[in-house]
């Protein structure tokens, strides 16, 4: 299982050509991922979500993705055709989005959606799929899987919906999960429960996790390693527990800009942006 990194990305760039010229959403991002929790932090427009989408081949057609190297478990992702992506997505790489409200189909029962995700990638009887779906709902700590199986998405709370979403994404047992702000729409106490579920899945199944978030506190306490993105560029890479000792001025400024419970300040530091960070 431990033969080299799960994912290797070298010089990944994504650019969009719009009416007002070319926007470079991701610029020459290079990173690798083992079976670990990798956090990507940045503010809006930093390209963190676009980078995550590029790994799944989900960049909108107007975007141009280039990379020197992008390989997943030894498989080259750059030359992949649509059909190959289909086989890979969901089965080996999955994605959890920010808001379960918009990612679950509102007119299909939760259980059926989870089961469907399984049957898409595994040949199985409906009884088998149903059993798997119930087990998966149980695995994401949904208290009463039999009941929730028959509910519609609007009948669930935000936290429950997000758990159902994770169940749906994990039932095919992917090797890599990309979570794009999976807890931002949730309350803090629920947020930690969802994080715990993700955490257990990484530890128990040896899955790789890319955790995209704007929240430095969560990323530094949850992930193993952190990439800080600014303007499409990875400006800092460090161990999560060493984030407080970050070197890049942008990371340091971000850390100082967030009001903290422990260290009262009369005035928060304002991030002074330096164009050189983009060079």
């Amino acid at each position: 299982m431990s033969e080299g990194p799960l994912l290797e990305v070298e010089d990944l760039s994504v650019s969009f050509s719009g009416r007002c010229g070319i926007t470079r959403a991701v610029r020459n991002a290079t990173f690798s991922l083992g079976r670990e929790r990798l956090g990507i932090v940045g503010e809006s427009g930093s390209g963190k979500s676009t980078a995550g989408r590029a790994l799944l081949g989900l960049v909108p057609p107007s975007g141009i993705v280039t990379a020197k190297r992008m390989s997943f478990a030894g498989q080259d992702l750059i030359s992949l055709r649509d059909a190959d992506w289909q086989a890979l997505r969901g089965r080996r790489i999955s994605m959890v989005m920010q808001d379960p409200k918009y990612s679950l189909n509102p007119v299909i029962k939760i259980g059926d959606q989870v089961q469907e995700a399984y049957r898409l990638h595994h040949r199985s009887t409906s009884e088998e799929a149903r059993r798997r779906a119930l087990a998966m709902l149980d695995a994401v700590k949904i208290r009463d899987p039999d009941l929730v199986y028959h509910l519609y998405p609007h009948q669930l709370s935000g936290g429950m919906g997000q758990r159902a979403m994770i169940a749906m994404m994990l039932i095919a047992e992917p090797d890599l999960l990309i979570a794009d702000e999976p807890t931002s729409a949730l309350d803090v106490t629920v947020q930690n429960q969802v994080l715990r579920i993700l955490d257990n899945l990484v530890t128990d199944r040896g899955m790789g996790l890319i955790f995209i978030s704007h929240n430095l506190t969560i990323v530094s306490s949850f992930c193993d390693r952190v990439l800080v993105m600014y303007g499409g560029r990875i400006v800092e890479e460090c161990q999560a527990n060493a984030l407080q000792a970050a070197k890049h001025p942008y990371t340091r400024a971000l850390l100082k800009a967030a009001p903290s419970l422990e260290h009262p300040l009369t005035e928060l530091a304002v991030v002074k942006r330096n164009p050189e960070w983009l060079l």
Binding site: E43, S44, G158, D187, V188, T189, V190, Q191, N192, L195, R196, D199, H214, L216, T217, I218, S220, S221, F222, A253, L254, A257, A258, P259, S260, L261, E262, P264, L265, T266, E267, L268, A269, V270, V271
Partner: protein, 251 residues
């Protein structure tokens, strides 16, 4: 300055009645910034809206400077307190320029020297004259929230109600807006209530903090107890622990 006495708000939705706020009491002295924290559905925003008169309280239980406020607000009640909304994208009229938006309250209340007051208000919140005739969609999120704050302060209210004013903004922009709020609060001697789900933000601005859970006020802490984690109720301790980030060892 503000006395909230046994405030309850019940929403009626179809045949159901949903108690959003149940018997909440607190008082706020002049010049204080009072924080209300809680998770979604705890009724924290509803309290703020009931004080502003945007939602109907079950019974009038609100006193400002010792005077009871009716359920229906008069123009001078409105003059007294203003509101800043959470979402800077939704709180500005999409077809009005910043100038129109800021002039409107002045026109409603028949204030003289309106144009000059707009200039001052823009300057107060750190916007430039070049922003004056822009439409909201031509501004960034932080700039929009500045416009919303300018609109709230242009009538020189005594009380400012802030409903998650920075939760839709990036951390760096949030810092700018929080600094702006604390500066304006000083220079205009505002009494304010800040609602937020972010304990850090509340602790940064407020002297006392109320913790809400499902419509009830759990407890009121001063900022020092909050920072040191000295809460009495179990729920407050949970909330404090959760906001310090993820921990692998469940408490």
């Amino acid at each position: 300055m503000i006395e909230v006495h046994n405030l309850s708000v019940t929403f009626r939705h179809g045949g159901h009645t949903i108690p959003a706020v149940r018997g909440v009491n607190f008082t706020i002295v002049e010049g204080e910034t009072f924080g209300i924290v809680g998770e979604s559905g705890s009724g924290k925003s509803t309290i703020l809206k009931a004080i502003a008169g945007l939602v109907k309280a079950d019974a009038p239980g609100l006193k400002i400077n010792g005077q009871s406020l009716g359920i229906k607000r008069t123009k001078s009640d409105r003059h007294l307190m203003q509101f800043v909304f959470q979402d800077p994208y939704g709180s500005l009229h999409p077809r009005q320029t910043v100038d129109d938006i800021l002039l409107e309250p002045l026109l409603i209340h028949g204030v003289a020297d309106a144009a000059e007051k707009v200039t001052i208000a823009l300057n107060d919140v750190g916007l430039l004259p070049l922003h004056r005739f822009r439409y909201p969609h031509q501004l960034s999120g932080g700039q929009r929230q500045r416009v919303a704050i300018a609109r709230a302060l242009i009538l020189r209210p005594r009380i400012l109600l802030l409903d998650e004013p920075t939760s839709a903004l990036d951390v760096s922009v949030q810092a700018e807006i929080l600094n702006l709020i604390s500066r304006l609060r000083r220079s205009y001697q505002l009494t304010s209530i800040l609602v937020s789900h972010d304990l850090g933000v509340v602790a940064h601005l407020c002297s006392r903090i109320a913790i809400m859970q499902s419509g009830r006020l759990v407890e009121v802490l001063d900022v020092d107890s909050l920072r040191r984690g000295r809460a009495k109720e179990a729920y407050s301790l949970d909330l404090l622990a959760a906001s310090r980030g993820f921990s692998r060892t469940p408490s």
